[in-house]
């Protein structure tokens, strides 16, 4: 990375292509007036006591301090709107696949036009995510819905499956669009605007920024992981565990429900065959049979919903956490490299000589990474909370709907069962 002097005109990889003039220096007077104390609150301190230089324009923490971004962002501060809708099936000789319409509305100057409409398929989203991970390694990239679907188990072209996927893809793009750094990524730009997504295009751009982006992985030993990052890692481990347990429980429930459903499908018809040799009881028995059949259908829907909506989201999160842990590992590596190099310098020369530039570069890298990660972590916590609130509330809703359907069926049966009695009552 180049020198971190405030006001340097060159844009840097980790902050995308935003012009420096548009970013307020976190320590500038205006900043403090807008958000007194916020910069101080969010000051990052390395374990050795030195404050992290948040003067870097590349530091997203400075931006976040101001904007406090989350999904409930006030519309006025947003200048980029993205939606995913209108899934359509495409049949070609080689394959059949679904494309989604991606609509963009923006006032940003990075875009040539204020509006775009393009068609993208899942592969394209996957490409985008990979590119983001590669080009923004210090950031947490939102998850995509699962790539692989077992062909026998789930119908890839069913309305429900496509709709579930569409919602997840929409959420993905919205999260990227709301991210102060990721939204300025050129691959994201291309994804939203290019007529033909030439996926090789990115490669050329990448090599230009290659040097500044590639972090050395492996080989260095970390001395002391800062407490907050250690805590993140621990939390992610425990959280993954819990998600795994919930996944297993949900699967078990689905299995038990399916077996219950099998019995119900045999149970209902027995009442029907009974009704065939009864006179007075014919209608009541037939009614019970119909009722059981309705409940069976309702149960089938519930089980399908859980399989198609609930489980995939859980699994996405597990994958998401994996990628987050990788980012944490990378951060460790960057810090380790810095510490090693610093140590080497300290031992080799006397303390009077200034720190050489490459060690300085490492220090900057560490500071940037930490800042980016910390800011993204807060955003992630928020999103996670929303996602799980939505997921679990959805699960509760589906169960409520199931019971409501069954309730309606049985309640409508009561008058049928009581029918003869009322007639008898009238005649007697």
């Amino acid at each position: 990375m180049s020198a971190m002097s405030a006001g340097a005109p060159r844009s840097l990889a980790s902050s995308g292509q935003k012009s420096i003039q548009d970013i307020l220096h976190p320590l500038s007077a205006e900043e403090s007036a807008l958000n007194p104390g916020s910069a101080a609150e969010k000051d990052l301190i390395l374990p050795n006591g030195t404050p992290v230089d948040t003067s870097s324009p590349a530091s997203s923490s400075s931006l976040l301090n101001r904007l406090q971004l989350d999904d409930d962002l006030d519309g006025e501060t947003r200048d980029l709107f993205v939606t995913v809708d209108d899934p359509k099936k495409h049949v070609s000789t080689m394959e059949t696949y679904i494309t989604y319409r991606v609509c963009t509305k923006t006032t940003r100057t990075e875009f040539d036009l204020p509006e775009y409409t393009v068609r993208r398929r899942y592969q394209d989203f996957d490409w985008l995510r990979n590119k983001l991970e590669e080009s923004q390694p210090t950031h947490l990239i939102p998850p995509l819905p699962e790539k692989f679907v077992m062909k026998g188990v789930v119908d890839r072209f069913s309305e429900e499956f496509v709709e579930t996927r569409r919602k997840a893809l929409d959420k993905f793009l919205k999260r990227v669009a709301d991210h102060p750094v990721l939204s300025f990524n050129e691959h994201f730009n291309a994804f939203l605007s290019a007529k033909d997504l030439n996926k090789r295009q990115g490669l050329a751009l990448l090599t230009k920024m290659g040097e500044s982006v590639k972090y050395v992985t492996g080989g260095y030993k970390l001395r002391a992981r800062p407490v907050e990052f250690a805590a993140m890692g621990d939390y992610l481990d425990l959280f993954t565990q819990k998600l795994g347990t919930i996944d297993r429980i949900a699967q078990r429930i689905i299995k038990e429900q399916s077996e219950f459903l099998m019995e119900l499908r045999e149970y209902g018809p027995v009442y029907s065959s009974w009704s065939s040799f009864e006179e007075d009881l014919h209608d009541p028995l037939e009614g019970v049979s119909g009722c059981v059949s309705n409940c069976s259908s309702a149960l089938e829907e519930l089980t399908e919903d859980m399989s198609e909506d609930f489980l995939p989201v859980l699994r996405e999160y597990v994958l998401y956490i994996e990628s987050m842990k990788n980012v944490l590992k990378k951060r460790d590596q960057v810090q380790a490299e810095y510490e090693t190099k610093l140590e080497a310098v300290v031992f080799r020369e006397d303390k009077k000589t200034p720190v050489p530039t490459d060690v300085e570069k490492c220090q900057d890298r560490v500071e940037c990474f930490n800042a980016d990660l910390k800011a993204d972590w807060d955003r992630w916590e928020n999103n996670k909370r929303q996602d799980f609130r939505q997921l679990l509330t959805g699960m509760a809703d589906k169960n409520i709907q199931y019971y409501e359907k069954c309730l309606a069926a049985w309640e409508s049966l009561i008058p049928v069962l009581q029918d003869k009695q009322e007639a008898e009552g009238e005649t007697s």
Binding site: T245, I246, E259, M262, E263, D280, R389, I400, Y403, L407
Partner: protein, 403 residues
């Protein structure tokens, strides 16, 4: 289920109030543990408004004895069945052990139901043996055996088990027998599948309890989300626990079905008895016809029927007129007796058909009424279960929304 205001039940309150374990020596002088049931009766007086109840203890085998007596003594009645001897159609959490308190309790209810049904039956309720079963603890068994019903029971059993072809059974009885077969088959199937479904339902509810535990563990590592998760977990536990009561109630429905499963047997027994009486009538009539034919042949000299005597006489020579005279006389007596027998059996048959059909019609009405009631209470059970489910999940949803 059993309506008051008929027969014995009009005058007497009957209940099987308690069950107790006893130990004693059995017929082969071995220690055994068995259950006895307390039968409480109180006669309603016009003057005394609070009648003093009488009570005595009876064990299951004595109920069986009573029923066997009634079966033999009232062959044209559809005799109410006893609750099952051993637990059948059991789903896995339900004990098949006869000593299990839940089984004993359900049996107590079943025995009470049996007594109430007998007491409200137009014919059975006025039986003296039944009355003394309810009122005389000691010596009742001897009284029953003194009636000599055992002998009748043995011959009846033999007859019922024998295979015979009836030429002209009353169509209605044949249909009823067929109905009994079908009813037995369909209820067995229903009970079997229901038990399996109950097992599965149990699994579904119980696994949700695991959510309770994991939500609790998860809430420990969360800050703001913790409370919502924790309380939602409690609701999941409540949901899991609710299945026990649900299935307990459903067991009552299963018992109602079982009663009619066994009733189907009683119905078929009556139809078989009709076949037997019809068969005996037909046999007697057949015998009479053949004897008449023989007489005719002897009178006219033509041999239409094959008889060994006829053949031997052909082979070994004709018989003398005196011999023939004797034969004719014998046949005349036999024919007279035969006609008497046919008359007797015919009356027996007609009377049986009349009485039995009355009781069958009564039974049909009772069955239609009872099963309809059972279905209604089953539907109400299901409605209650759905409402509970909606409530629990709404509670959980509220907790989730506060996460």
């Amino acid at each position: 289920m059993v309506e008051k205001g008929t027969s014995l039940l009009k005058m007497m309150e009957i209940s099987v109030a308690e069950a107790e374990k006893r130990t004693g020596k059995n017929a082969v002088n071995m220690q055994e543990t068995y259950t006895v049931y307390l039968i409480e009766t109180s006669v309603e007086h016009i003057i005394w408004t609070n009648p003093v109840p009488d009570s005595l203890w009876r064990r299951y085998s004595e109920f069986e004895l009573l029923r066997n007596y009634l079966l033999v003594t009232y062959p044209f009645s559809v005799v109410p069945p006893l609750p099952e001897k051993r637990a059948e159609f059991v789903w896995h959490k339900l004990s098949a052990d006869n000593m299990d308190p839940d089984f004993v309790e359900r049996r107590r209810v079943g025995l009470e139901n049996f007594l109430l049904r007998v007491a409200s039956h137009p014919d059975l309720s006025s039986d003296k043996i039944f009355y003394s079963f309810l009122t005389e603890e000691n010596g009742w068994k001897e009284t029953v055996f003194e009636t000599g019903f055992q002998a009748k029971a043995d011959s009846r059993l033999k007859a019922l088990n024998a295979t015979f072809r009836v030429k002209n059974p009353d169509k209605r009885f044949a249909e009823m027998k067929h109905y009994g077969d079908e009813l037995q088959s369909v209820i067995s199937q229903l009970l079997r599948v229901r038990a399996r479904a109950a097992d599965r339902l149990y699994g579904v509810y119980k696994v949700h309890g695991n959510y309770g535990r994991v939500f609790s563990e998860w809430s420990a590592i969360e800050k703001e989300m913790g409370d919502g998760l924790q309380s939602a977990g409690h609701h999941m536990d409540a949901y899991a626990a609710s299945v026990d009561d649900i299935l307990e109630e459903e067991e009552h429905y299963a018992d109602q079905l079982k009663e009619y499963l066994f009733y189907a047997d009683a119905l078929r027994a009556v139809c078989r008895k009709h076949e037997l009486t019809q068969y005996e009538l037909e046999m007697a009539a057949q015998d009479l016809t053949s004897k008449k034919q023989q007489r005719e042949e002897l009178a006219t000299g033509t041999i239409r029927t094959f008889s060994l005597k006829g053949m031997t006489s052909k082979l070994f020579g004709q018989e003398t007129p005196e011999q023939r005279e004797a034969k004719v006389k014998m046949l005349e007596t036999q024919i007279e007796e035969g006609e008497e027998l046919v008359k007797e059996r015919n009356t027996e048959c007609e009377e049986f058909v009349k009485s039995a059909w009355v009781d069958i019609e009564r039974f049909k009405e009772q069955k239609d009424h009872d099963l309809r009631e059972a279905l209604i209470s089953y539907a109400i059970m299901q409605i209650s279960m759905c409402k509970k489910g909606i409530q629990v999940w709404n509670n959980a949803k509220e907790c989730f929304s506060k996460m």
